[in-house]
Amino acid sequence: MNKNETNKFTLKIPSRTSNLGIIREFIQGIARQFGFSDDTIGEIQLAVDEACSNVIKHAYQYDNNKKIDIMVETNGSKLTIIISDRGKGFDPAKLETPEQRLQKHARGGLGIALIKKVMDEVSFDIHPGSRNEVRMVKYIS
C-alpha cells in the first residue's frame, strides 16, 4: 500500500454489543496493513470499542435496529477514525475526570478518558438528533 495514497473505508454495522468483536477485527486489519505495532493496534481497537460501546448504550440505548457508522481513513502518517450516531448527543465538556470517578467509586464514566489517553487527537462534533461524531487520530512514526 502506498502510504501517501488516501485509503478510506466506511462500515455500517448494527448497533449491538455482540458486534464489538467484529468491529475490533475490522480495525485490526486496517491498522496492521497500515503498519502499526501490535501495541498501538491494541490501543486503536480499544478507542474504537469505547466509542462504539457509547453509541450502542447512550445514543441508541440498546436498540438493535440502529446502525453505527464507522469511517476509517489512512493517509500519509495518519489514521483517522470517525464514529457517528444520530442519537441525543451530549456535552463532552461536562464529563468528570477518571480520577473523580475513581475516588467516588462511581461505576463507569471512563470510556472517553481512555480514548483521549490512547489516541493522539480526539474531537467531538455534536448535533443532537442529526449527527454526533467522535473523531480520533493516531500518527504512525
Partner: protein, 120 residues
C-alpha cells in the same frame, strides 16, 4: 473468538475468579454476575486472575468499581493478578493501581490476604 468465560475456585475464605477471553460491553454481565454471586454468599476475599484474559475495555473496569465499596465495607478486598502488559496498561492509564492491589501472580495475591496488607 471474542468470547468470555469466568471460572471460580474457592480456597478457604478466598475465592478466585479466572477470566478468559474478551471482557467488553458485551460480556461484562457474566463477570458481574459471578461477583454478585460472591456478594450473595458473603464471600468478600476475592482474587481475580487475568492470566487468560486477552482484552478488557472500560465496561470491564466498571465492574470492579461497582463492587469494591461493598467488598471493603465487609472487610474484604479484590486483588488483581497475572495481567498481561496489554491488560495492565488499561488499568494503569486510568489510575487503578493507586486504588487496587495489582500483583504478579496468585501466590502473591493470597499473601496479600494473609498479611492483611493493602497497598493504599
Amino acid at each position: 473468538m471474542n468470547g468470555f468465560e469466568v471460572v471460580r475456585k474457592d480456597l478457604e475464605d478466598v475465592s478466585t475468579l479466572f477470566l478468559k477471553g474478551y471482557l467488553d460491553a458485551h460480556t461484562y454481565p457474566q463477570f458481574e454476575s459471578a461477583l454478585q454471586k460472591l456478594m450473595d454468599e458473603r464471600r468478600f476475599k476475592i482474587i481475580v486472575n487475568f492470566s487468560d484474559l486477552s482484552y478488557i475495555s472500560s465496561a470491564g473496569l466498571g465492574v470492579f468499581m461497582g463492587f469494591i465499596e461493598t467488598v471493603r465495607e465487609n472487610a474484604g478486598d479484590i486483588k488483581l493478578c497475572a495481567m498481561s502488559p496489554k491488560v495492565f496498561k488499561v488499568f494503569d492509564l486510568l489510575g487503578f493501581p493507586t486504588i487496587y492491589d495489582i500483583v504478579n501472580d496468585e501466590t502473591q495475591a493470597h499473601q496479600k490476604f494473609t498479611d492483611g496488607s493493602r497497598t493504599n
